[in-house]
Symmetry: C2
Subunit: 219 residues, 2 copies
């Protein structure tokens, strides 16, 4: 999005506001914290002072690219978390998917020039843990229906709202391929959504990958 | 724990196994992933081969200290997440607490010589997101009862199981003070649990802190 915004408005500074924000809760005045990222730190500081209140706390970042990667990738991972939830695979599995998913997200971010710590913040992990644990999320609820055995076409036909992850799965996988980043969970979601892969076989494929080192940016 | 184990068994190598593992689900054979950390990488590799199966996937780490910090601090943060859940403050608030809580956990880990990436892994973030979203967690369910307005003494008297966070809150805060690490969320839990602080006032205090930079290890 920042690339598109910069192309459209080449003389304007771009800032990114992103984080764990179910809109209904923000509107109700429930406490919410977000990342406010801008390359121009003085401008970011000014924006924080303009929009920040105790119930809506913006945290400063100088990494707009990092802040937007989280928002895109988390929708794909939420579909994966929905699928394992629909299949009643348990909370341990979902926590592992969130953690290994964050490692994928961080690898992609770093390859796009983001700082790894941004992905560990509100716009990365924060949004991820919100979306992957709340059936309020459109992407997670779509995944749940797939995990329960329903067909994608049928689920999409019934919906008025858009589950962005259906579209971003392919985009994320293409970007990862271009940058040489391994993203097995996102690739699995893309296979299931866009290439008719069998869910059971895809999960077995993930579980049978070789054991490896954990550190998120080292592999 | 590694310090205690090394003191008791000075000639034995120590490895740490930790991660998002509700025991009931592991016993049911639901897929689970964990961190296996040992300073001796060859030994760690051997342990991974001995205990790893597709449904129980250990990820290698050479950072035992990092692996154990997550397991201790997450119990304190789970009480905080329980309190805001009991008070019906919404999913945005809980996601923000998890994220800012992870930043505290990482600062403490780094001060104890851990690698920050370990805290972002299964034994850190993974266990945190599991414990802070699942009412199966003893610490989170304790926090929920406190958030609903019950007295700690009364809640503890009814329980057979132990909510570790009640004990580790004071230990974590003392260690943080010794190492000069700022941990406002853990300190708030300690105030509520051990010093009779009012929950409403403590939450207001957290929300009224000055706005700041987000990066977890920079402050």
């Amino acid at each position: 999005m920042t690339e598109a915004a910069e192309a459209a408005l080449p003389d304007s500074p771009i800032a990114v506001l992103s984080g764990p924000t179910f809109a209904r809760e923000v509107a109700q005045g429930l406490p919410t914290a977000v990342t406010l990222a801008c390359a121009d730190t003085a401008l970011a500081q000014k924006l924080v002072e303009l929009i920040g209140i105790p119930l809506f706390r913006p945290y400063l970042s100088d990494d707009p690219v990092g802040a937007e990667i989280g928002g895109a990738v988390k929708n794909v991972l939420a579909i994966a978390c929905g699928i394992v939830t629909g299949k009643k695979m348990g909370d341990n599995t979902r926590a592992a998917l969130i953690t290994r998913g964050l490692a994928e997200m961080a690898r992609l971010g770093v390859a796009k020039g983001a700082k790894p710590e941004t992905l560990m913040g509100l716009s990365g992990l924060g949004d991820l843990t919100l979306t992957c644990n709340g059936p309020q999320s459109r992407n997670m609820s779509l995944g749940i229906e797939l995990g329960e055995g329903r067909a994608l076409k049928e689920v999409l036909a019934e919906r008025k709202s858009i589950a962005e992850g259906v579209f971003s799965a392919a985009t994320v996988v293409a970007l990862a391929a271009k940058l040489g980043v391994e993203m097995p969970i996102c690739a699995a979601v893309d296979q299931v959504i866009n290439h008719g892969a069998d869910i059971e076989e895809t999960i077995a494929g993930l579980l049978n990958r070789p054991f490896r080192a954990e550190a998120p940016t080292a592999n």
